[in-house]
């Protein structure tokens, strides 16, 4: 008898989703779906609003990475004003981008994912969370919380508040960096480097510990998409799009982000509010691609800071001869490498004289009626595309969010883990296996608030249903 297993909602991710796993008459997995059942509609209700409000409005999409929306929206604004922002503003926006990356990655790694790694997938769900982590390894939890605090402190120093600062605006930024505060930020660097070293050591131990799980944790070939500098280095704030296939071949390079709609299409499925972006030349669904830390560390030729570059080489060795790491479990490793890069790069930016300046905003009126902003959010490449009238009123907005771009890959990951670990013949689904399915999703650190522009509650419910839809077994957490 065929059955459907539902995991709803998925926990310890940013947002609200459910997973269904369909079993056939033999109890084998035939289909899995990662459903995102939230809807927010930012693209619609920003129509009729002013361009200058857009960074403030779109940053409200999310409380985890508001700075990424803020920056990308301001960049779309720069494009519409047709201005080059001052050098100091560019440095400061980069600083904000990296602070955002650091705090978000620290949240993902220490608060959300490490309970699985350190307490085990099969440990009691009541304690398999950040509080359980504090009980088990107080020092690691403390370090993680402080690393996130470091990122958030930078955001607060720059923008006046940790969450939803309106500091980045079309044309630049609103306030310069106070030189005294610069030294305060620098004071954090040694501790932040130590903490990231601990994270890297931890993730490498985890790689050894979960030898059984890792080969089936989203291990498949796909395209990887992200930004790189014009000479091929890792990039988060600006840059050009590079597309790499699962064998490590660069199949498209130096694509200007403003032409993104020529390269990427968005498919819609009736069972999810999250759209399915794909690479147009390969069509849907074969044009599946992954974005985020795994993609960024895969596609770049170098990282450019000494410690992170050493780690990148070690990471690339995991990909064997192709040098392309296809296993989604290594998102966590790539995230740790990016944290290291962020700390090193923050130090470099603070030592750059151009960071301390007072020329921070280019003023202009509406010079174009269309503008595209692009940057790398912690979870991957992010696009804001606005059309305005001559007065600066938004006529149409299109936001392409990192998590949405990982949608196909997340579905594929769920399918792989379910097929590998679930034996439907037993009729009952062991808690630890469903946790592995959830943990597979968590590799991508999905932010569903951003990607559907939604937010929800998070109890966990698992449902087994028969062919007629009748509920055979329900497990609630």
């Amino acid at each position: 008898m065929s059955k459907t297993i539902t995991i709803s909602p998925v926990t310890r991710i940013e947002g609200h989703a459910k997973i269904t796993i369909q079993l056939d008459d033999n109890g084998d997995v035939v289909n899995t779906r990662f459903h995102v059942n939230e809807f927010r509609g930012f693209e619609k209700f920003t129509e009729g609003r002013l361009l200058w409000e857009m960074p403030g409005i779109t940053s409200r999409i999310c409380g985890i990475c508001p700075a990424s929306h803020l920056i990308t929206s301001a960049k779309a604004g720069d494009d519409i004003l047709a201005v080059d922002i001052p050098e100091t503003a560019e440095r400061l926006r980069r600083l904000l981008t990296l602070a955002q990356l650091l705090q978000s990655h620290a949240l993902s790694f220490f608060h959300l994912s490490s309970p699985d790694f350190l307490l085990g997938f099969d440990s009691d769900p009541a304690t398999r969370n950040v509080f359980g982590l504090i009980a088990a390894d107080k020092e690691l939890a403390r370090r993680g919380i402080r690393l996130r605090k470091f990122g958030q402190e930078i955001i607060e120093i720059l923008g006046g508040r940790k969450i939803h600062t309106p500091w980045t605006v079309p044309g630049g930024v609103r306030e310069p960096l106070d030189p005294a505060k610069k030294d305060y930020i620098k004071g954090w660097i040694p501790e932040a480097k130590e903490t990231v070293a601990v994270a890297l050591k931890t993730i490498k131990q985890i790689h050894k510990k979960f030898v059984k799980e890792i080969p089936a944790f989203g291990n498949f070939r796909s395209l990887f998409v992200g930004l790189v500098t014009p000479d091929g280095g890792i990039e988060h704030y600006d840059g050009l799009i590079r597309i790499m296939d699962g064998d490590g071949n660069v199949i498209a390079d130096k694509l200007p982000p403003k032409n993104y709609f020529e390269y990427f299409g968005e498919a819609v499925e009736p069972w999810s509010y999250l759209k399915f972006p794909y690479y147009k030349p390969m069509d849907y669904p074969d044009g599946m691609y992954r974005v985020g830390p795994l993609a960024r560390v895969n596609i770049c030729d170098f990282i450019g800071t000494p410690l992170a570059e050493e780690e990148r080489k070690e990471f690339k060795a995991l990909g064997g001869s192709s040098g392309c790491v296809n296993n989604s479990f290594y998102y966590h490793y790539a995230r740790c490498i990016e944290m290291l890069f962020a700390v090193e790069r923050i130090e470099e930016i603070l030592n750059d004289a151009a960071t301390i300046g007072t020329n921070i905003r280019s003023l202009a009126s509406i010079n174009r009626t269309e503008g595209i902003g692009c940057s790398e959010a912690p979870r991957g490449i992010l696009f804001h595309h606005y059309y305005v009238n001559k007065d600066g009123v938004i006529q149409k907005a299109n936001l392409i969010i990192a998590t949405a771009q990982n949608n196909l890959a997340m579905n594929r990951t769920v399918q792989q883990i379910a097929t590998h670990f679930i034996d439907g013949k037993k009729g009952k689904i062991a808690e630890g296996i469903l946790n592995r399915v959830e943990a597979g999703i968590r590799c991508y650190d999905p932010c569903l608030s951003c990607s559907t522009h939604a937010l929800g509650q998070m109890p966990l419910e698992i449902e087994l249903t028969g062919p007629g839809g009748e509920v055979l077994d329900t497990v609630r957490r």
Binding site: G48, R49, L50, W52, E53, P55, G56, I57, R60, H164, P166, V169, R174, L363, S365, D391, G392, V393
Partner: protein, 245 residues
């Protein structure tokens, strides 16, 4: 000129001809909340926040337009008044589309200050979410009718101080809206001198400067009193101008 003696909150005050209950109260550091009132502009009595009780009458009177009378007994802080003031702010909140978090005057808004003052922790009336327009056709300024509280300060400052009379009120009741000229786009206005006085007196984010982002717009309003003083008394007293914080 006859001097009138009357009572506010159990203390006797004297008033001269032309005084209102509100300006006597303000002159004596008695706080009465206001929204449509602005020193230098003619009182209008639109917002009803400055309502006071007058002994012997069941009605409430707006302090800004009520003239003191000999022996009048005025109360400004009764429970009944507090209840109505809070209700007025709730109605204002429910009638417009006030999204403080993404507004240009967030943190520097008179409606927001009033909400704090009257203890507005939630709104009991259903939000109307009216379909209001935003006019950004002017080169420098924008009117966003979503945030308008119909205080008419813009109408009065343009008519009484600038003398252009660009602004007016159209329609009736809850559908009232501020319009420019004969309901033409602001950018097409033949009368507007682009002086910006309307933007500066607006208590909320309904009138704003283009290019301003969330919470960035701070308005300085005491210029109205300065101009009116200069014009009527030939006194140019600059120390009266302070930043509204």
């Amino acid at each position: 000129m006859a001097v009138i003696t009357f009572t506010i909150d159990d203390i006797q005050y004297s008033a001269h001809e032309g005084d209102t209950v509100l300006n006597v109260a303000h002159a004596n550091n008695i706080h009465i909340p206001t929204l449509c009132y602005l020193e230098g502009l003619s009182p209008f009595g639109a917002c009803r926040l400055c309502m006071v009780e007058v002994e012997g009458s069941p009605k409430l009177f707006p302090a800004c337009t009520t003239k003191p009378a000999e022996g009048m007994i005025v109360r400004t802080k009764t429970d009944r008044l507090k209840k109505y003031r809070r209700m007025i702010v709730e109605l204002l909140a429910s009638e417009g589309n006030h999204q403080c978090a993404v507004c240009v005057v967030n943190g520097h808004c008179e409606l927001q200050d009033l909400a704090y003052e009257v203890g507005l922790d939630h709104v009991r009336f259903p939000y109307l979410f009216p379909n209001k327009s935003l006019d950004a056709t002017h080169k420098e300024f924008v009117i966003d009718r979503n945030r308008c509280v119909l205080c008419t300060r813009c109408v009065r400052v343009c008519h009484e101080v600038e003398g252009a009379h660009v602004w007016d009120i159209a329609w009736r009741g809850i559908n009232c809206e501020i319009i420019s000229d004969m309901n033409q786009p602001w950018g097409d206005s033949q009368l507007c001198t682009s002086c910006g006085k309307c933007v500066r007196v607006c208590p909320v984010g309904a009138l704003l400067e283009k290019g301003q982002t969330v919470g960035e717009l701070r308005k300085e309003r005491s210029f109205v009193k300065f101009i009116v003083n200069a014009r009527t008394k030939r006194e140019w007293i600059t120390n009266g101008i302070e930043e509204d914080e």
